[in-house]
């Protein structure tokens, strides 16, 4: 394979790493039954704050720590207002996402355009020499490796551990989890904050590696959080599928850049924006089996074809945790 393409694809894996973190963080939160809509603003604020912290202290780890803390604190606000005060999660999330975004632009003014620290690449000895795979997976930096680990660990946690099953339970049917001994609201607090911290880590991943630096409104980060939310749904609240969604998005963005020189007739804006409608289209295709008109349309098809199509649609279809966004009371 052409080395340029390989390097490009490796870049796709790297560019997707923060989105993987944000979308898996949101997956944990939503699995617990809480919607945290503040993702977009959280990423911006933690990107700015993480960059500023590392710039001032010259310490990368501190930058990430600050990012995670900001994410967890914003999530704590969402959790407190929705679980304890029983307010609308959607309204609170929206307000927080706008507030944190503007806060990021306002507070980040003095750090704009400064050159700061950046995560160095970390080639893994021996493994990096494997043809193709070495370039793709083992000539990355630490955050990409961490994103791989996160995918595996979160998949294992949700589907193979006792705690993970309980997590599924509190988002699916909190009353049933409650009779099985779960402290539903405490767990919801915990997972909302854990999810928020993972979202918060996505910020410094951008500002200290993928899109190093802080450039205010032209940082190109605004909107990523909404994509992460969409990817959570597209991935059916399943970490591996969520990660695939993140990679698909990064791949589309990369293709937009690569194809631009060979397609001079298409305005550059089209290719830049194309990944967004394409993501929506994918979402639509994945969940089209839910629609009533599709069922009606299917009933009119000849039998063998009907069965095949129904099977494919069913395999792709995902359904959200049944109690997503519903507060829990045991009376």
């Amino acid at each position: 394979m052409d080395n340029n393409i390989l390097v490009g694809l490796a870049g796709v894996l790297a560019a997707a790493a923060p989105v993987v973190f944000a979308a898996i963080g949101e997956t944990f939160t939503e699995r617990a039954g809480i919607i945290n809509l503040s993702v977009n603003g959280t990423i911006l604020l933690s990107a700015m704050a993480g960059f500023a912290t590392s710039l001032v202290t010259n310490n990368l780890i501190l930058g990430f720590l600050v990012g995670a803390i900001i994410g967890a604190l914003v999530a704590l606000l969402v959790a407190f207002s929705s679980i304890t005060l029983k307010q609308s999660q959607v309204a609170v999330g929206f307000v927080l996402t706008l507030m944190t975004r503007d806060l990021a632009y306002f507070l980040g003014n003095s750090f704009m355009g400064q050159a700061g620290p950046r995560i160095p690449p970390l080639n893994i000895p021996l493994l990096q020499d494997i043809p193709i795979l070495g370039t793709l997976f083992f000539k990355q930096d630490i955050i990409v490796y961490t994103s791989f680990i996160l995918i595996v660990v979160s998949q294992w946690w949700i589907f193979s551990t006792r705690q993970g099953l309980l997590l599924q339970g509190i988002g699916e049917r909190p009353a049933a989890a409650f009779v099985r001994g779960a402290n539903v609201n405490k767990l919801r607090y915990l997972y909302t904050m854990l999810g928020g911290a993972l979202v918060g880590l996505a910020g410094p991943m951008f500002s200290l590696s993928v899109k190093a630096g802080w450039k205010g409104t032209i940082s190109g980060l605004d909107g990523i959080g909404w994509i992460a939310l969409a990817i959570t749904i597209f991935g059916g609240w399943n970490p591996v599928r969520v990660a695939l969604g993140a990679y698909l998005f990064a791949l589309l963005q990369w293709l937009g850049l690569v194809l631009q020189p060979s397609l001079p007739n298409i305005p550059s804006q089209v290719l830049q924006v194309a990944p967004f409608p394409l993501m929506i289209l994918t979402l639509l295709l994945v969940n089209i089996g839910n629609a009533e008109w599709v069922e009606r349309w299917l009933a009119g098809m000849p039998a063998p074809l009907r069965r095949v199509v129904a099977k494919v649609l069913r395999a792709m279809r995902t359904s959200p945790p049944a109690s997503l966004g519903v507060p829990f009371e045991n009376e």
Partner: protein, 489 residues
Amino acid sequence: MKVELQQIDKHFGSVHANDHITMTIPAGTIQGILGENGAGKSTLMKILSGFIQADSGVIKLDGKKVVIHTPDQAIHHGIGMLHQDPLDFPPMRVVDNLVVGSPGGLVPNKKEAIAALKKLQERFGFQIDPDAYVETLTVGERQQLEILRLLWLGARVLILDEPTTGISASQRLKLFDTLRKLAADGMTVIFVSHKLEEVEVLCHRIAVFQRGRMVGEAKPPYVTTKLVEMMFGKAITLDERAPCATCDPVLKVEHLEVEDTRLHICDINLEVCRGEVIGLAGMEGSGQRMFLRTLAGLTRPVGGKVIVHDKTLTGKTYASFRKAGVTYVPASRLEEGLISGLSLTEHFILAREQKGFIINRDAAVKETEENIDQFFIRGKPETHVEALSGGNQQRALLALQRQDVDVLLIEHPTRGLDIESSIWIWSKLKARCQLGATIVFISSDLEELLHYSDRILVFFGGKVSEPLDAGTTTVDQLGQLIGGLGMKS
């Protein structure tokens, strides 16, 4: 284990749900708790199982006073409750359901859980596949799973809240056998129900509840009329069946073929007369619901014809069916039938045709009041529907149906209702038949099917029986057909 409840008291706002209830249940007994909807049975059981807490009162197990704050603590003391709607996780596998909330390390030992499940299943003759998804099980199987789970966790007192709602006749027999076995092993079983005949057959003793109080206790032999009097404070009788008139076909089904992900039923033929009542019987999920929804145009059949009043409506939408005089009354009252958060008046505004652009509130309130009187709905025009009890919701739902419909399709018309409400609902439905309406309904209650239908269709394993004459069929025959015996292949 001996269970003693002393002076249990519980208020919900202004409602006195449990008024100083005292009762003692010895080990090895099946204790029946009888009462109409809202009599306070479920509240008391939720208190005993730690789901909610009493305002005051004492619980003693084997003579020792215990404090139960959560369901977790209840199960530690050996008290397990099977809720009316099994509290499990439909999208999860059976084995995962079993493991959630069980004590142990980070990674659960599924093999051990499956082995334990198999052993328990053998003891009671259950057959649940540990790898199946819970949503593919019938309500009866989900109950069995919950019972096994509670036993696995070490329950010695088993509480069942209206467990026979929504399960088939054969599953009910199996459930009763299981409960008898458990009682024989020294377990205490508390069986909450509003169905007299079940409590009489199963229980060693009965406590009757009315309006938050325990109004009496009984031991066998039971006298039904006395129990009814205790429950309602008055005697109630069933009315007689009216003979069927000559046939004037309203609804015709020809070679109908329906299909969903699990089931395929072909060649259903049926002709329903004016004023006739057709009952659809079968275990939950045998296709009767899909058939009924097809008759309403909510599901499109994959073959055959649906004809209403000589008009072929196959493949048309519910709107066209409605125009032709068909109406569909779903089983889940609050999810599909009524709109939570809207008042009774607002429901009538939506259901009735309005003149002009702006709502005439006064007229709507007046009409609502008339309907409240006529249908004995315990509520006010401004009451929100979710605040009504089940029986009153069903009455409201019935009141909302247009008066000019010819074909009423009803799912479980009396599910979860007490005898008095059921009799009342059916008297209204029968009155509609007298006026020429046709009714097709689904029920899992054999007595209801036999008593109110003219003919019955039995669904089993992807097949449909010929229409049976309800007048000459017995409960046993119907039960066997539902269980698949004697069905033509």
